[in-house]
Symmetry: none
DNA sequence: GTGGTCTAGACCACA
DNA sequence: GTGGTCTAGACCACG
């Protein structure tokens, strides 16, 4: 499971984490009963304070999304229907629009913008493959 | 000009406003030299405190997007972003990467992602043209 | 009568004016029944908005220090005993201390500081004499 | 360290605090590297909102007088004011002129004014020596 | 009427 | 516990 914190979005970090766990649950990436990453390693990976991760998990527990078993870890609860395609699309459109607005704002022409996107997608794809090979070892 | 604030998103309200002004500028809804809505009426319309709107405008001014003339109002600047190409590229890449990560997160295939981008760019282009015609009247 | 507005002190300008009128009255520089400078020329001299001077005068009237006769001007009321020497000394000490603190802060040695003071006092004296000659013409 | 806020002066509270920290630094009451009072206890002691103290400290940090380490506290910097001699002189002259104007305003003769200055400088010097002895214990 | 500032309360991230 | 930020209310200076 991959989380991505945006430190400059202004949105509270612990809420970003809450949303992403919810999204992972909704998209099926995280299955009911499955364990979430434990606090300490996750905090280290995301370069956050442990308190911040703990706060996100506490929030998720109070929302009834996860269940915390002290000494064992945190686990996803049942009853979370996957996001409808429509909603996923909407979330993605928000991000895309932000990028388009930034491109206009920076006076980057559409053609150059599309090239840059292709370039970044290739770069991500490359990284992803490298990671997979790394895990296969 | 219509702004839409999402109070539940956790993203600071004033930053939402900043983004929407930038978007309005990018879409041509707001033209260089044109006046932005005055702080108080806008605050009332959006059910915000005046300071929240003022902070958004102050941020936009420090970004060089608008110009604020005390006693007169706030106006969209002519030539914002005199940034070097390198820096502009960097800023844009950050936005693009966020969108790509979100797409991967939501398990949207690359092909569909690119289609969505083209679609949104067309939509912006359409809006911009409509606004230009509107202003010419 | 000479007023001196300090735009960077942070103290509201209209209150600075109020205090200075009070001080002029208290020190005897302004005598009971005497006319205050009228709003428009004073505002021009001090580079203030007329509203700001008007606000100061309104405040002084509500404090019972001056009396405003519409169409005639503003006049100092009776019953204002001159400041006791002790209090004048205290006000002056505040200003002096600020200068000393600034000198320390800027690491200007005491000797240089005193020279600078003498120099400025001479400069003021020079100006004052020039003004007197000007008026005698 | 003792701060004294004058709520009636009209001068912004946070600026009063800024000046007093500078004065404490100049008088040696506060030494380079030393910790300033923490924001919350100080706010409570002075009956201020925490933000007002925080704003004063932020201003001092932007002036290069103190350094703020989140989670740790605020500390007096070693070498503040790396200003060019010309600029330092100009800043100092402004303060001196204010004191001279006040003296003239209060009709304090030049001789008495100079005596008062010498007296205050001696007083500061005395305090600084006392603080140094106190720290050596 | 315009924008700007000061003070406050509540919350965030971190040690 | 530490400092930092976002939102709000009241007031200021100006046109």
């Amino acid at each position: 499971m991959l989380f991505q914190i945006n430190f400059k979005s202004g949105m509270p970090v612990y809420l970003q984490l809450v949303d992403q766990v919810k999204a992972a649950a909704a998209s099926g990436e995280l299955k009911p009963g499955e364990a979430l990453p434990s606090i300490r390693p996750l905090a280290e990976e995301l370069r956050l304070n442990r308190n911040t991760v703990a706060k996100a998990y506490a929030e998720l527990e109070s929302l009834g999304v996860i269940e915390s078993l002290p000494g064992k870890g945190c686990f996803l609860k049942q009853n979370h229907s996957p996001l409808r395609k429509e909603i996923r699309r909407k979330l993605l459109i928000e991000e895309i629009d932000q990028a388009i607005v930034m491109a206009h704002h920076l006076q980057v022409p559409g053609r150059e913008f599309l090239e840059l996107i292709q370039q970044r997608m290739d770069s991500f794809e490359h990284k992803r493959r490298a990671n997979e090979e790394h895990k296969e070892k």
